[in-house]
């Protein structure tokens, strides 16, 4: 069975970013979108809270 230590695997890490067989750009965009929506929700929540406290 192939077995590699952490150090061996680190040595096999390429310097340059290699291409992949899935849409990494789309995946990153999805994550960015979720982060933006979460930030927006958080902002709305803070805003709503301000009113209650007044």
């Amino acid at each position: 069975m192939p077995r590699y230590t952490i150090e061996e695997l680190l040595q096999l890490k390429p310097e340059e970013i290699q291409p992949v067989n899935f849409d990494a750009v789309e995946f990153k965009a999805l994550i960015e979108k979720v982060k933006q929506l979460q930030a927006l929700r958080e902002e709305e929540y803070q805003h709503g809270h301000g009113h209650f406290n007044r």
Binding site: P2, Y4, E8, L9, K13, P14, V20, I31, K35, Q38
Partner: protein, 189 residues
């Protein structure tokens, strides 16, 4: 020679099995069901393919809250209902580290899992999960069984990988108690 250099360049280093990267997207609206949220992203079966995937996805510190990365062997789904998981459980560790420190520990965990050095007998590991949560990020190592002896060895290795020195921070929960809010760990290291 140029030829043998070129040949060496083409050689890929096979992993023991194929692995699938899954992502749990945080819900952003109520219409989204679990099957919309948990999705396979890609697979890899060589060291080279692993690095390509790893370099092209956001690092843990870049993920939104309530995200999970799961890396599971072959076609095992990262759910306790999956046949391969049903008799097993998970070693769980809540991590205090933040930012790039989590990135490094997650990478070390992945390398120990796909390189098969965390389980010397190669009989227990189904996958590994990173959960990004407000109350603290969590690492979990999912196993095929809940047998104390092999799991204790794996847990000890997992602590080395995570560079944990204190006692009592790593907890094993069998999936059979997954629905029990008050479940206690069956092994603590």
């Amino acid at each position: 020679t140029v030829l043998s250099d070129a040949a060496e360049f083409e050689v890929k280093h096979p992993l023991n099995t194929k692995w699938t990267l899954w992502y749990t997207k945080p819900a952003v609206d109520k219409s989204e069901s679990w099957s919309d949220l948990l999705r396979p992203v890609t697979t890899f079966q060589t060291v080279e393919e692993f690095w390509a995937v790893f370099q092209n996805i956001p690092e843990p510190h870049e993920l939104p809250l309530k995200s999970d990365y799961h890396v599971f062997r072959n076609d095992v789904r990262p759910e306790w209902e999956d046949e391969a998981n049903s008799k097993g459980g998970k070693w769980s560790f809540q991590i205090k580290a933040k930012g790039t420190e989590i990135d490094e520990l997650w990478l070390r965990t992945l390398l120990a899992v796909i390189g098969e050095t965390i389980d010397e007998d190669d009989s227990q590991i189904n996958g590994v999960v990173l959960s990004i949560r407000k109350g603290g990020n969590k690492f979990a190592l999912w196993t095929k069984s809940d047998d104390k002896e092999p799991l204790t060895k794996i847990g000890a290795k997992f602590k080395q990988v995570l560079k944990i020195e204190e006692d009592g921070l790593l907890e094993f929960y069998p999936h059979s108690s997954a629905n029990d809010r008050f479940a206690q760990p069956t092994i603590v290291l």
